[in-house]
């Protein structure tokens, strides 16, 4: 059993628990409304909640900013998150692994799926230009990258990937309202499973609200969030493909 490592919020003095909250309640400002906001904040575990402001933000609605001392603590020692376990590789290292160990082009197909038209993220990973100075997969001699763009249906994506014999499928989801990204992502995994070739392909999931844990939960092999560099993705893919080739 590992030692506990309790952490609390910190404002002014160590462990004072200070947090800030803001919200709207469906009541007009009044002394009772202020008290309701305090009680509401208290329900969240804030001690001595202080209603810093209460303003009419619509007829019958008040906006509140509250500060208070959170009574909650988190045992940081108990927090475990799966992390994409690849070491960072340089462009040259990646090229040379492909050349020497895989000995053929690694094929990837990417798309922004469903109703989602946010291509900037997937373009950043795939297109030559890349992201923040890190060139995209198209820039690698060892990769063959197909970018199907936006609003691609899962069926189309799966079909194309199969047609070109993709080693990996890269799915981008940016719109997350009412969890449509999860549904969409899961639907692709299910589709490929039902078609019986899940084991032949790596499935990567990415977007500003995606993390590795979520991706694993949905049945992908990895998840990539905000700030991902193309070389992170390339490194992950070649390591996995190499392992497969060498098996």
């Amino acid at each position: 059993m590992s030692r506990k490592e309790l952490i609390r919020a910190y404002g002014d003095r160590q462990n004072d628990g200070m947090v800030q909250m803001s919200f709207v309640l469906p009541i007009a400002p009044s002394a009772r409304a202020r008290e309701a906001a305090k009680v509401f904040a208290g329900e969240h575990g804030l001690r001595d909640p202080l209603v810093a402001t209460m303003e009419a933000c619509a007829e019958g609605y008040a906006f509140f900013v509250v500060y208070g001392r959170s009574t909650h603590a988190v045992d940081f020692a108990a927090i475990e998150v799966p992390e994409v376990s690849t070491r960072a590789l340089s462009h040259d290292e990646i090229e040379s692994i492909i050349k020497s160990d895989i000995q053929r082009k690694v094929v990837v197909v990417g798309a922004c799926t469903g109703a989602d038209a946010h291509t900037v993220g997937i373009d950043a990973i795939l297109n030559y230009k890349g992201y923040g100075g890190d060139k995209g997969l198209e820039s690698y001699k060892g990769f063959e990258a197909f970018n199907m763009g936006a609003q691609v249906e899962n069926e189309q994506l799966a079909a194309r990937a199969r047609a070109v014999g993709a080693d990996a499928i890269l799915v981008s989801q940016v719109i997350t309202q009412r969890d449509c990204h999860k549904e969409n992502g899961k639907a692709l995994v299910d589709l490929i499973k039902s078609q019986g070739w899940r084991d032949e392909v790596l499935l990567l999931f990415g977007g500003p609200r995606i993390d590795h844990k979520l991706a694993l939960d949905l049945g992908f092999d990895a998840g990539f969030g905000p700030g991902t560099k193309p070389s992170d993705v390339a490194a992950f893919v070649v390591e996995r493909v190499r392992a497969r080739v060498q098996r």
């Binding site: 619509a58 109703a115 038209a117 763009g149 936006a150 609003q151 309202q177 500003p208």
Partner: protein, 514 residues
């Protein structure tokens, strides 16, 4: 004021006009399924079948499949009327459902047709004019707020929540309320019906939804004594139909761009060019202000390197709009504050662009978009970033200001986000009200030099686009770093070359409008 060489501006306009003229030759001899459906709607055809497919779609699709649509759906409608249908609706139902299809072989003469449809054409025009008059009357009683007008979006997916949030926005000081459309609506080749309560990323644009929001905004207008504008999107595969709905439901503005659908929704360019023309003919008559979408270019392309593409596109959008009968006062040309905030002097670069656009388009109600691309989840920083945007807006006297939302990188704006944004904007606009009148820019300073550079680059781009034609220019990614082909993209199959006997008296009337 920044230095603007009038001869360069004139040359830009000349080139843009040539670019539009080339496309107009195509437009004039083509129609689309969207245009034909619009005509049916304008004549009063309404309703859906059991599966929710609008009658206008059933009619148009049937005649397209039969290879007859190139004559214009009005032709068939008029024939049915001439043959005794008691109403337009009855005529349309006949076209959709009757067991025999009108194969155009025998029947009424063109004169009989024209006679049969004339009243309906006039009625359609009257509906537009009536809606316009109603709006103008309300505006006479309750004048709109001062420029920059504060524009916010609501996007709950549920039209009833939208109405509540729209009223909340008006309460907090909004001048313009947009109901953002559901994520994929622009790719639907029909307009959904009725009040809707489920949508991702926004709420469906339907005639009933437009009405619900109009009623809410009229109520707010009266409550707050300030005219509240309503806007929605007339882009996508139903560009012209939505323009019609907007025109008769009293919308004040519409997002409407000659090229947005091509670039950002991968809609076929032939389709879009024809649709935008017809949509704008309706908009011109309705006195609606359009908002163009050049701001979007800077979400995919770099805001500093590609600033000139925004200006070049504004000239092109203007040229298209003039050809559709829009006046300058109806042209809310779009641009945006999308420069990386961490670049030194980013504020100066933006100031230059905003001032340049203002001077080149002095009578146009410029639409000024907030930072979005470089927003992160640090809502506090985002709020400050927007304050600087507001400052540029009021200093350079932009007309329509889309307010930034501190939660831009997180979710569609919520009630509190809009409240905070409106409050902060009211402050900046008031605290800096006369700043623009008080300051002048160094004649050869950073701001002035930047303005000159952007105009020069826009001119160079327009020269190039004029040389190659817009079709090829878009093909090589001239705008927004996005490439599209002439026959690629969605909706191409809905484009038809007009038959020699093509009939569209409504469009004729709109084209004859003053």
């Amino acid at each position: 004021m920044v230095p603007v060489d009038d001869r360069k501006v004139a040359r830009c306009r000349e080139l843009a006009d040539a670019i539009a003229a080339d496309v107009q030759r195509f437009i004039d001899v083509h129609t689309t399924v969207g245009v034909e459906r619009t005509v049916l709607r304008a004549y009063g055809v309404s309703g859906v079948n059991d599966e929710g497919v609008p009658l206008v779609n059933l009619v148009v699709d049937r005649y397209r499949e039969a290879g007859l649509l190139d004559r214009g759906i009005t032709h068939f409608l008029a024939r049915a009327l001439a043959r005794g249908a008691r109403s337009v609706q009855e005529a349309a139902e006949g076209l959709a459902y009757s067991s025999i299809l009108d194969d155009d072989s025998t029947g009424p003469t063109r004169e009989e047709e024209q006679l049969a449809i004339a009243d309906a054409t006039q009625a359609a025009l009257d509906r537009i004019d009536l809606a316009r008059e109603k709006r103008e009357a309300l505006k006479r009683v309750h004048a709109p707020g001062a420029a920059p007008l504060k524009y916010v979006i609501v996007a709950t997916g549920n039209i009833h929540d939208d109405a509540l949030q729209a009223k909340a926005a008006a309460f907090a000081g909004a001048d313009i309320v947009a109901v953002i459309r559901a994520t994929a609506q622009s790719l639907l080749d029909y307009v959904p019906e009725g009040a809707t309560t489920e949508g991702y990323g926004g709420t469906f644009a339907t005639q009933e939804n437009f009405r619900i929001i109009r009623a809410a905004m009229d109520e707010s207008t009266r409550n707050f004594g300030r005219y509240i504008h309503q806007t929605n999107y007339s882009s996508g595969l139903c560009m012209a139909e939505i323009a019609w709905i907007g025109a008769v439901e009293g919308l004040d503005m519409l997002l409407n761009d000659a090229m947005y659908g091509i670039l950002f929704r991968d809609i076929n360019m032939c389709r879009t060019f024809v649709d935008q023309y017809v949509s704008r003919r309706l908009i011109a008559r309705a006195g609606i202000v359009i908002n163009t979408g050049e701001d979007n270019y800077l979400t995919t392309a770099d805001a500093i390197d590609k600033a000139h593409t925004v200006l070049a596109s504004q000239f092109i959008n203007e040229a298209f709009a003039f050809r559709a009968g829009l006046r300058e006062e109806q042209l809310g040309l779009g641009h945006a504050y999308e420069i990386d905030p961490w670049i030194e002097d980013s504020f100066l670069i933006e100031l230059a662009q905003a001032q340049l656009v203002r001077q080149i388009f002095p009578r146009h109600p410029i639409k000024w978009m907030p930072p979005t691309k470089h927003k992160t989840g640090d809502i506090f920083f985002a709020h400050v970033h927007e304050a600087m945007f507001n400052l540029v807006g009021v200093t350079t006297n932009q007309s329509i200001e889309l307010l930034g939302m501190l939660s831009e990188a997180v979710h569609n704006p919520m009630l509190m986000d809009r409240y905070l944004s409106l409050k902060a904007t009211r402050y900046v606009h008031s605290a800096c009200k006369h700043l623009g009148d008080e300051i002048t820019f160094k004649p050869d300073g950073r701001i002035a030099r930047r303005a000159v550079q952007v105009l020069d680059e826009a001119l160079a781009q327009l020269e190039e686009v004029a040389r190659e034609g817009i079709w090829d220019a878009i093909g090589r990614g001239a705008f927004a770093d996005v490439k599209r082909t002439r026959t690629g993209g969605k909706g191409y199959s809905g484009v038809l070359k007009k038959h020699a006997g093509y009939m569209n008296p409504l469009l004729d009337a709109l084209e004859a409008s003053p």
